[in-house]
């Protein structure tokens, strides 16, 4: 695990801002957005991280974050790559050219968080209806319970009955 980390920091000395070890098989690495594609290509081609497990979006108070969970079948190690994005107009380049499995994950993250994945091959809604407005997983999207029936409506109806 430490070899992967040291080679990564050697290759991208100024762009790795934070690393964390969850346990023996899991590490977390934060990188700057401008080197994301380079880091991904390096990890896939040189370090054999050939399985993109999932793409996760997170809405923090001051930033958005996209996390790429990578797994290497040969090394049996997981590396989670975190990329902070700006709060206003968050966007990041797509990784579908590196891992094709990113396609649906990115579409899902895009529609639920309003994060733009640039150069995505099919940037359309996946889970939500086409005319859905808003980004449900952002923190400013509040869940409102819909009443089963409109109380005012019901009471008026009773009066007329």
């Amino acid at each position: 695990m430490s070899e992967i980390l040291s080679s990564l920091t050697e290759k991208f000395p100024d762009s790795i801002t934070n690393t964390k070890v969850q346990r023996k098989t899991r590490i977390w690495v934060t990188v700057k957005i401008d080197v994301l594609i380079d880091v991904c290509e390096y990890l896939k081609n040189k370090q054999d991280f050939n399985h993109l497990s999932s793409v996760v979006g997170v809405d923090y108070k001051d930033r958005f974050e996209v996390v790429y969970h990578l797994w290497s079948y040969s090394k049996k190690r997981q590396l989670s790559l975190k990329v902070p994005l700006e709060k206003e107009n968050p966007k990041v380049k797509t990784v579908t050219k590196i891992w094709r499995s990113a396609n649906w994950h990115e579409r899902e993250t895009a529609e639920l968080f309003g994060i733009t994945f640039e150069e995505h091959p099919y940037p359309k809604h996946l889970l939500l209806a086409d005319d859905f407005e808003g980004y449900p997983l952002r923190k400013d999207f509040k869940l409102v319970e819909k009443p089963w029936f409109d109380k005012n409506d019901a009471s008026e109806k009773q009066k007329t009955d």
Partner: protein, 376 residues
């Protein structure tokens, strides 16, 4: 009635026919809509449209306390609710550094493997329906699946949504005589699995409908994020239970089943043989089942320290993972589910294009998506 979602087809080739399957269709395993562009009987393009069962699980979870989320997870993959309970509880236990008791570890392995048997039996039955051994397969496998569901009913009182595995332990200890009932049931199932092989695997029609159909090459399988039986059917020896062990799977002696060809028959064969492996694991776990407490002491209000974990298990459909982020409040800040069926379904176009329309249905059956989990 909800209107069908808009779909604009930019260009249709000369002499092509576009047909719509679903979202309500007997062959689509749930609310999946497929739009297929055909040239004669050959499929030129497939577009899966999902989201009809999207309930916003991840958003609901952000608004619930940690223990309140366990019963919600039952509704994800409703054919294997125990796996969902497990991955969630495991994530929270890792987040809070809870060490669970030995007896609980064993019971968890037993119920997880029984769940895998039940889920694979259902998969085989549905798949039989899809490829034309209609109802025979379903009747037979569901008869055996019933044994396991009855066992789970004695455990938790529910037949599908168990809510049995809890944070720090289990709902309650095994009922009296449970071990014996399990042994009897798996003895029956083991005999019946041989019978299925005779009925289906050696059936001429079944073989013709599945062999060489929906071939997924290993390179594509890895790049497209396939996991579970779909990946192992293409020949990679990978299983989270071995490659990234959780609970106590490293104590048992069993094999990862792989097939080389990557076609529908290979994926079906994985199910059949994995049932046998799971039976072996259940026997070993029952043998070593220790006595003792099942629940450990956990705080009355579950408030993990700020932090994040990525926890994963091998569900019957593949790598099921949860990424939980805590901010120190009693509710998770973010909870993401990586569902195997979602990822496996996304490679359907790759393996069904250029095949026949009838094979599209067989291919879909061999991927075996469960829509509670795909749409979440």
């Amino acid at each position: 009635m909800m209107p069908l979602r808009k779909f604009e087809y930019e260009e249709i080739g000369e002499g092509r026919l576009v047909i719509n399957l679903g979202p309500q269709h007997p062959s689509t395993h749930g609310v999946l809509r497929l739009i297929a562009e055909l040239d004669g009987e050959r499929v030129k393009k497939v577009l899966p449209i999902i989201g009809y069962l999207h309930r916003g699980f991840e958003k609901i979870a952000e608004n619930r306390n940690y223990p309140m989320i366990v019963p919600l997870t039952d509704r994800l993959d409703y054919l294997s609710a125990m796996s969902n309970n497990m991955v969630y509880c495991q994530a929270i236990e890792e987040l809070m550094n809870i060490k669970i008791s030995e007896r609980t570890e064993y019971i968890r392995v037993i119920v997880l493997e029984l769940q895998r048997i039940a889920s694979h039996l259902a998969s085989v039955g549905f798949f039989g329906n899809d490829v034309g051994v209609t109802f025979t397969a379903m009747m037979y496998t569901f008869r055996e699946r019933e044994l396991i569901i009855n066992l789970f009913e004695t455990l938790s009182g529910a037949r599908l949504t168990y809510n049995y595995i809890r944070i720090g332990g289990l709902r309650e200890d095994l009922p009296k005589g449970f071990e014996n009932n399990v042994l009897q049931s798996i003895d029956i199932i083991e005999k019946k699995v041989d019978e299925y092989e005779e009925f289906f695997s050696e059936n001429e029609i079944f073989r013709r409908r599945t062999q060489g159909i929906g071939v997924l090459k290993l390179k594509d399988a890895i790049n497209l994020g396939a996991t579970g039986p779909v990946l192992r059917g293409s020949g990679l020896k990978s299983d989270v239970r071995v490659t990234d062990p959780y609970t106590i799977y490293d104590r048992f002696d069993w094999d990862i089943i792989t097939e080389k060809k990557g076609d529908c028959f290979a994926r079906y064969n994985i199910w059949i043989n994995e049932i046998r492996q799971s039976i072996s694991i259940v026997r070993q776990a029952l043998n070593g089942l220790p006595k003792g407490e099942i629940n450990v002491k956990i705080p009355r209000v579950i408030k993990p320290e700020p932090g994040e974990v990525y926890s994963k298990i091998e569900s019957p459909r593949g790598e099921l993972a949860m990424n939980v982020i805590s901010d120190g409040t009693p509710k998770p800040y973010r909870l993401k589910i990586r569902s195997p069926a979602f990822c496996n379904l996304s490679l359907l176009p790759t393996i069904s294009e250029e095949g026949l329309i009838a094979d599209l249905i067989a291919t879909l059956g061999s991927i075996d998506p469960v829509f509670g989990e795909v749409d979440r």
